[in-house]
């Protein structure tokens, strides 16, 4: 009986693969590139074991553990180093890839009425869902294999075949688990935005849960799928258990998604649609009110997420303090900056990562304009007495406010959690000021989104590449001593690292100028071009 629901799955898989061949290839190439370039660079950076051990010393603190997970610091070979510093972050990106690819071909295609067409053909009821899952499974396997064999092919002594394959399997396994998460949420949520939002929510929560439990109680990290990644201990203990867990979890999620799909109607979720207002509220009066109405739910969840992110990092501060107190050798090794505790020296690193995370919601808010254009909904507004400047200006205003609120919430989260767990606490104005210093850099990203939406609408997704680039240079730049200019290409590389460095206002001012110029160009371009999907 079940088989008839799967008729033509093979053909549909080939069809989806054809549609996504460029996208899938780009993801695979991008992830593999980062996987391979890092150990190669480590080989150049650290000439011998002493240098690597010195690096291990600086990594041995709760803040780093929160960020990248635990690692084998006693025997810090190039292989162990790569697993410690890179595996978790890369797995996070692989999870993101799965979520985006899967939600597009499940709820995304359903929402746009394409699945309805496919269902009318002699294809089984569950065929399209499973075709999407077949494609993502294939993608995950390829990801695992090319990363595994690629790492081995680097020919680094401490990176043997078994460890390399395990490393690759960690990435592929994570991709598989989050494909399952997205497939399940595609059944529960009624929109592709909802599917993506909820799945990314689970991804970030898994990361944060692992961050907190890795420090407080490592065995609890087993509850987070991202905890499994670091528990493979590739290149040291080569644990295949977690990979097995990933495959089982993914299989369960795939089956659950199939079950949920089989018991629901097409184009509906599980919550029945409640009747709403029969008239518009006094809020929904114009383009700005509409834009806010469309974003408020998402913004609300992002706001909570940002606060939790800040608080999670903040909660690490207490552990850091006691860690430093018990370790006199380390206190001597890390030259304290005058007037700052050792703990405070880690603040810039936390802030820069958090500020890039806080850039995501305002950029989403800005890109929503192009999304509305693609769905041909802007015609309703522009066909009425709404000017283009007013329309784009509304979205821009919301994005700027969004940026301000998100970075503020991260800072408040960080400070309040740190204040609760530390003996002396931190100065709120120092933390908040240092966080706000990143606002101009975020505005440059928003400005780029405005510019692309106004002048090069087909290239709007490019802004994400720039955000991702910034994340990687900031994240890796510190670890790998990238040349200065790589960081300077990103706006985040121009912000002084308060409190370790002196606050500098000129770069911030210049970033604001760049942001304003991009926004102005975008607004002008938007007035001059065709509105079309």
């Amino acid at each position: 009986m079940a088989l008839k629901h799967l008729t033509k799955t093979g053909q549909l898989s080939r069809f989806i693969l054809r549609l996504d061949r460029v996208k899938v290839s780009l993801w695979l190439i991008g992830i593999t590139f980062f996987t391979l370039i890092v150990p190669a660079a480590f080989e150049g950076l650290y000439e011998n074991q002493q240098e690597r051990d010195a690096m291990a010393e600086t990594m041995a603190n709760p803040a780093m553990t929160a960020m990248v997970g635990p690692g084998n610091l006693e025997n810090y070979t190039t292989g162990a180093m790569t697993t410690h510093q890179m595996l978790l972050m890369t797995a996070l990106v692989a999870g993101l890839m799965s979520i985006l690819l899967v939600s597009r071909h499940t709820r995304g295609d359903e929402e746009d009425g394409r699945i309805e067409l496919i269902r009318s053909l002699p294809a089984g009821r569950l065929s399209y869902l499973n075709a999407a899952l077949v494609v993502i499974t294939g993608t995950s396997v390829v990801l695992a294999l090319i990363n595994g064999f690629g790492l081995y092919a680097l020919g680094i002594e401490t990176m043997d075949l078994a460890g390399s394959l395990l490393y690759g399997a960690g990435l592929g396994g994570t991709a598989l688990v989050f494909a399952g998460v997205a497939a399940v949420f595609a059944q529960l949520s009624e929109s592709s935005r909802g599917t993506i939002g909820l799945s990314i929510g689970v991804l970030l929560f898994s990361y944060l849960f692992r961050a907190v439990t890795d420090i407080s109680n490592e065995s609890l990290s087993w509850l987070s799928p991202l905890g499994w990644v670091t528990k493979t201990e590739a290149y040291t203990n080569n644990n295949w258990g977690p990979i097995f867990l990933m495959v089982v979890a993914a299989a369960i999620l795939f089956i659950l998604a199939n079950y949920l799909q089989s018991i629901r109607d097409l184009e509906s979720g599980f919550l029945p649609s409640k009747p709403g207002r029969s008239t518009a509220s006094s809020f929904l009066q114009g383009p700005l009110g509409l834009a806010w109405r469309l974003q408020r739910t998402g913004a609300f969840f992002w706001a909570i997420g940002m606060f939790v992110l800040g608080a999670s990092y903040g909660s690490v501060m207490g552990d850091m303090e006691s860690f430093f107190e018990g370790n006199e050798m380390l206190q001597q090794m890390l030259q304290p900056v005058e007037g700052l505790t050792l703990t405070e020296q880690f603040i810039p690193m936390l802030l820069i990562v958090m500020s890039i995370m806080a850039t995501v919601p305002p950029v989403i808010a800005m890109n929503k304009l192009r999304g509305e254009e693609k769905k041909e909904r802007l015609d309703h507004l522009l066909g009425r007495a709404v000017s283009r400047t007013q329309l784009m200006g509304g979205y821009l205003l919301l994005a700027v406010l969004n940026a301000f609120i998100m970075i503020s919430l991260t800072a408040i989260g960080l400070w309040s959690a740190a204040d609760a767990v530390m003996e002396e606490g931190l100065s709120f104005s120092m933390i908040y000021g240092a966080a706000l210093a990143y606002l101009p850099a975020t505005l440059v990203m928003v400005g780029l989104a405005v510019f692309l939406a106004g002048v090069l609408p087909k290239l709007t997704p490019f802004v994400w590449a720039y955000v991702l680039y910034s994340f990687f240079v900031v994240y890796l730049g510190n670890l790998m001593q990238f040349p200065e200019w790589t960081a300077k290409i990103s706006p985040f590389g121009h912000v002084a690292q308060v409190p370790v460095e002196e606050a500098a206002f000129l770069p911030l001012f210049l970033l604001c100028v760049v942001a304003a110029a991009l926004m102005a160009l975008g607004l002008i371009g938007f007035r001059k071009r065709d509105i079309s999907a």
Binding site: P275, T279, A280, L290, D379, G383, R384, V386, S387, K528
Partner: protein, 305 residues
């Protein structure tokens, strides 16, 4: 007074010329039908009129103002209904109608409620749950409850049931009584015939015919069915006679309107027992334009709206 005047409008998408020298005029109080095959350029013309697409060349004026530069000013007096109504899934129909009406500035609460009643729409439902026809009703109610001078309707009834189609026609007739102007693009030719004073036919981005229905009919053929005492001779050889067919009830053929007189003189010699004539429908006219000439496909992939 001219409400809408398009002169030599050209619109290119890359290298592809979607509109090639379109000329169109709608005067005050006039209802203009705008017809043409799929992909001919109707929606493209309308989007240029609304300042959503930018003209590559030519002049587009509404109320004597430039459709691109003065879009906002113009839109305060224009109501638009798109053919494919995409709405926000999380908003209710009532909210969308209110928003649309407010975006123009005028507010006719009583008219809105009356129209919701008339079109029997449930305004409390989320747009995601609306059928195609119901989404179209939302756009129609918003358009008809705003006090505009020019109504631009792009296939506004493609999803309506016959009952709603009637109500739509009543609403347009009301507009006509109030002296409003309407540009109505449609594939439902009977609707265009019933409502419009004038018709413009577009094909491959060029207007190939404009005029009142009477003027256009003049260019077309009348369908005749006759029964005579004696068999009719030499009918097919006469100028302006087409498609002669012998049927059970008699002889069926088409006559060019300008040759009608000659042909009737000729057949009357044979003793006419019965004569039925059908006026040329817009459909005949339309078909003639598209069957005659080349049979090649319309430009592009015949894309949507």
């Amino acid at each position: 007074m001219s409400m809408l005047k398009v002169t030599n409008l050209t619109k290119k998408f890359g290298d592809f010329k979607a509109l090639d020298g379109v000329n169109l005029e709608v005067n005050e109080g006039e209802i203009m039908g705008f017809i043409g095959p799929n992909g001919a350029g109707k929606s493209t013309t309308i989007k240029v009129l609304l300042g959503i697409l930018k003209a590559t060349d030519g002049e587009v004026q509404i109320f004597g103002k430039d459709a691109w530069d003065d879009a906002v000013e113009i839109h305060k007096r224009v109501a638009y209904v798109p053919g494919d109504v995409n709405l926000w899934p999380n908003l209710t129909g009532g909210e969308v109608i209110d928003l649309f009406v407010k975006l123009r500035g005028t507010n006719h609460k009583s008219r809105r409620d009356e129209l919701i009643e008339k079109f029997s729409l449930d305004p409390k439902k989320k747009c995601r749950t609306y059928s195609k026809g119901n989404r179209q009703k939302v756009a129609l109610i918003a358009a008809f409850s705003s006090d505009a001078d020019l109504y631009i309707l792009d296939e506004p009834t493609s999803g309506l049931d016959p009952l709603m189609e009637n109500i739509f026609q009543e609403c347009v007739k009301d507009l006509k009584k109030q002296g409003k102007s309407v540009l109505l693009s449609s594939h439902i030719l009977s609707e265009v015939e019933k409502l419009c004073d004038k018709v413009a036919i577009i094909r491959k981005g060029t207007i190939i015919e404009t005029g009142t229905l009477a003027e256009l009919r003049h260019l077309t053929r009348t369908q005749l069915l006759i029964e005579t005492k004696k068999p009719v001779k030499n009918l097919a050889e006469l100028k302006g006679v087409h498609d002669v067919e012998v049927k059970e009830q008699g002889l069926s053929f088409q006559v060019d309107t300008e040759e009608l007189d000659n042909v009737l003189r000729h057949v009357s010699q044979f003793g006419v027992l019965k004569l039925e004539s059908a006026p040329p429908t817009l459909e005949d006219l339309f078909m003639r334009h598209y069957e005659s000439g080349d049979n090649e496909a319309t430009p592009g992939a015949g894309g949507g709206n």
